[in-house]
Symmetry: C2
Subunit: 82 residues, 2 copies
């Protein structure tokens, strides 16, 4: 399993309820791809959302996000943590 | 206290030791600005580093990063989490 940080742009005005619903939509199907979305953070002003996940591949992360209705604009493997 | 995600670009080739040293440099002085850097993630291929912090302001986050020798390219308040 690898760790990924993905980024969504254009989410200006996102609310706490909308973020929670989007995250829940990921969680509901993530096991089908052996993905786990650990946490998400949103900046409603700039419209940026960051998602931290563990997954077998970048493609698996994107497949879950796409099926949940919110394709990521960037996905970065983040093999290093501190 | 607010939560911030900051991003550093141009860090291609960063190693685990370099990330740990940079994070440690932040931790060594962060209390002077009531900042706490909770975690950092790096993608050596794209040269992207993400730092999650709690701080009184975006400016306080940047002051610690600057004094530690690595100014952030972007800092986003992330008031929403899921």
């Amino acid at each position: 399993m690898a760790v990924f940080m993905d980024v969504h742009h254009g989410m200006a005005g996102i609310t706490a309820d909308q973020l929670a619903a989007a995250h829940q939509a990921d969680l509901a199907i993530e096991a089908e791809e052996q993905v786990h979305f650990k946490q998400a953070w949103a900046d409603p002003d700039s419209g940026t959302v960051y998602c931290l996940s563990e997954a077998p591949s970048m493609e698996a992360v994107q497949r879950i996000h796409e099926r949940a209705g919110h394709r990521a604009d960037e996905i970065h493997p983040v093999p290093l943590t501190a």
